[in-house]
Symmetry: C3
Subunit: 345 residues, 3 copies
């Protein structure tokens, strides 16, 4: 009963948090591949889209299909698209996994293999083998600044995760560390994944989703300085081998170009990457008379149980129960006699 | 009273869901218009932006204004822009609906009509008539995979909408159907709108917003396998003819090009489409001693009412009330007499 | 006790709001700078990304670095990058603030200064001085239409912020004003910031985040027409000079071009701007028997306190307490005597 009070803070009114988040990634890396050559990657290249409300996508792996144009080309070979003759290809047909609309012709895909021709952005993307290790594996060292501002409407209490006692110089250099720097809002991507018990390099290959959880549990009966953010990290996309339909996290986008003749080209990019969702939650409690009353009330009512139980035992269980009953209940009959006697006279 | 318990689960502590969502659209279609010619549309073309946190926009209709450049051109004719002479056009003026800043000149819009000239991206977009039927009406057959991972912080209980007993082969082929496949996380766009009681083809023309609601009501006193997602669909943008200020759902974006001379061109696209918001909500309950106490307490307290009522009736309403009062109350006066007597002696 | 009822609506079951939001900005402005020349800015130019779920970013200031290509160029001068000789530059080194990867050479940055050369998108962006006043200061007059549709799942009650009694003609012309037009869903950006007690022009320079809060507190025991949205505005990013690590709100994105030779160019844009987050919150209450019972119960239980207190006083504090005790408790001993007597005989 008192425990409800002291521990569960039964005397407090509670409110849940309203929050706003901004994120900013930093870091640059260089890659050198036959397809793309020597290339520098900076924020504008690997953060897609450039801004989201409370999450940030960092591209860690990539399949680029350069210089696609609208046209006709052989479909990727799979059980439906491989063909011997045009009769195997149904014109106008399309399915969930096809890159275009079949023309009905059966054309050579390579020396040995023939597949159905499709109207599509050609050449069609071949995402059969994902680069290992991840193309932008250096993303492990990128840093992420999270700015979070919270508000408890009921108590009109606001606070941000950059605490007043933190100096700018500290913020310029610090990296979050649960043990040494629990209030530094700058996170190393590798550490985030590590803290969640996963390997960044594994995750980087097919992508995934990481939750950066900020918990604001505040007892507003105490000083505001005790109301502090607690960071925790969790992988949000469960990876189990037997359910890996579109595993990890990836999406396609394209950069469009017009050449001299005005025909449209595009570079199709299948971007694998890690999306960092900032999940803010928590409750604030403050003394309020209403819940106090209600809880006291309920608590006291519990004592009622005692009384009831006593009576039950005493009146129905104990050997002396008859005596107790007699004592407990007064019968009205005798009173009626009284009346009758008076009448007799 | 017991109903509170059994039905309303008064003995449980509750927690609300924390969730993360990823979506992936699939499907390809072909269009053939005088303006754009024969053209294939795939995911990279019709999903804008390429990724959002918990919603997905599928372009279903489009008004393209190709090859705009910065310059001067006649404004679209409307009640403010039509003019007879320069005197009708206020230089530098602009209003909510104008495509540019007026230069003050009155120039011919077409053979019959003159409108004020504006500095703008020229030619200005003419969105007066929206294509009917929708340009990408085939979007009805596109599919949407929703991956949802939920978490109840208080109970540290996590689950995903791809249930453990679902096989990969099933996921590769299944389509959600309330009756036959209630747990398949792959949705046919047409079906979603249909389930909400609307016509996809109507909605596709001016766009709209569909809510895909995932309800996770879990009784964690039972096995986790009973905690299942329930899908429901609702149109979120109310369409009533008398309030159709910017009806449906659309937005503008542009693809920018540089030509040889380095002057910037853009293709302006007014994209109408359906935004699918994934709304995850629900509560989990688990036995906890605190709420149990509180509810028992309150419940018992109610019995108090009975007692009070009895007394009231007995003591004030019944004809024998005087007797009852006498029996109920013992008066201290007689005792005082006793004392006095002793003193007398 | 009754106050719990009347004021706190103890007899109601409550539910929190589920909401969906769409936004649409309008407005056009013109700028004329040496770098970009005479230029018109419309929605497609300054809203980035083109669409977000429940927020909208309006670019107000900009640092453009035109025609970048992959290459080698001197780093921006700062305490780490300034050098006398190659020995000062560690090849392959990079830090949080560097625009590229050091090549190990020390090259002239300008006539007087030498800095380490980096492999990067060249020329590197120089964001040392932000344009003052803001480049798109005219954004103050842009308007923002907010369409909000809410839902209370428990009561299956839906409503939108465009109220039924609002006419289309009114919507075409109105601008939100707390006093005169409290239900007009069209906001002037300048007014929003002003209502939050800040200066738009200041905010526009380095950007920021504004919260547009829509409160839906509804008593569903009354007519639905009483359930109305209440708008309020709050700046979500606290600006204090001593914590301005990446102050305001900005992000980088790039437009990519291919030139004749096929080499990739990009225009890097550092966009400062104001993000408008639409925060919808509120509770709906409706009569329900359960909470009513619970509250009545608790309330009555409180009366129990009275009884207990009386007894305590009477039995332990008052001088006549012995008498009261005697009257209150009946002792069983005398009864036992009775039994013994019977035995004697």
């Amino acid at each position: 009963m008192w425990w409800v009070f002291v521990w569960e803070k039964g005397y407090q009114e509670v409110d849940s948090v309203v929050s706003s988040v901004t994120t900013k990634a930093k870091g640059v890396t260089v890659t050198n591949t036959s397809q793309l050559g020597f290339r520098i990657w900076d924020v504008a290249d690997y953060v897609i889209p450039a801004q989201e409300e409370s999450s940030l996508f960092i591209m860690t792996n990539i399949i680029v299909t350069m210089n696609q144009t609208q046209g006709f080309c052989p479909e990727l070979p799979d059980k439906t698209s491989v063909c011997q003759s045009d009769s195997d290809c149904l014109a106008g047909s399309t399915n969930t996994h096809s890159s275009g609309v079949a023309t009905g012709r059966c054309v050579p895909y390579n020396g040995t293999l023939k597949t159905c021709e499709v109207a599509a952005w050609c050449p069609v993307e071949d995402d059969s083998n994902v680069p290992k290790p991840a193309f932008l594996k250096a993303a492990e060292n990128f840093t992420l600044l999270v700015k979070n501002n919270i508000w408890y409407p009921k108590f009109n209490f606001t606070k941000r995760n950059i605490l007043p006692n933190i100096t700018t110089t500290y913020l310029k250099s610090c990296i979050y560390n649960a043990a040494t720097d629990p209030f530094c809002p700058i996170f190393r991507l590798g550490k985030i994944v590590e803290n969640a018990g996963h390997s960044f390099q594994d995750m980087a290959i097919e992508g995934g989703i990481m939750g950066i959880q900020i918990k604001w549990d505040c007892n507003l009966d105490r000083a505001a300085s005790f109301c502090l953010p607690r960071y925790s990290f969790r992988r949000l996309d469960t990876r189990d081998q037997d359910h890996n339909v579109s595993p990890g996290n990836n999406f396609r986008f394209a950069k469009y170009y017009n050449d001299l003749t005005g025909t449209e080209h595009r570079t199709l990019i299948k971007a694998y990457g890690i999306r960092f969702d900032i999940i803010v939650f928590g409750k604030a409690g403050k003394f309020d008379i209403i819940p106090t009353m209600i809880n006291i009330g309920s608590g006291l009512a519990l004592f009622g149980v005692a009384t009831v139980l006593c009576d039950v035992i005493v009146l129905y269980c104990m050997k002396k129960r008859y005596y107790y009953r007699e004592k407990k209940y007064k019968y009205v009959e005798e009173y009626e006699q009284g009346i009758n006697n008076e009448m007799d006279q």
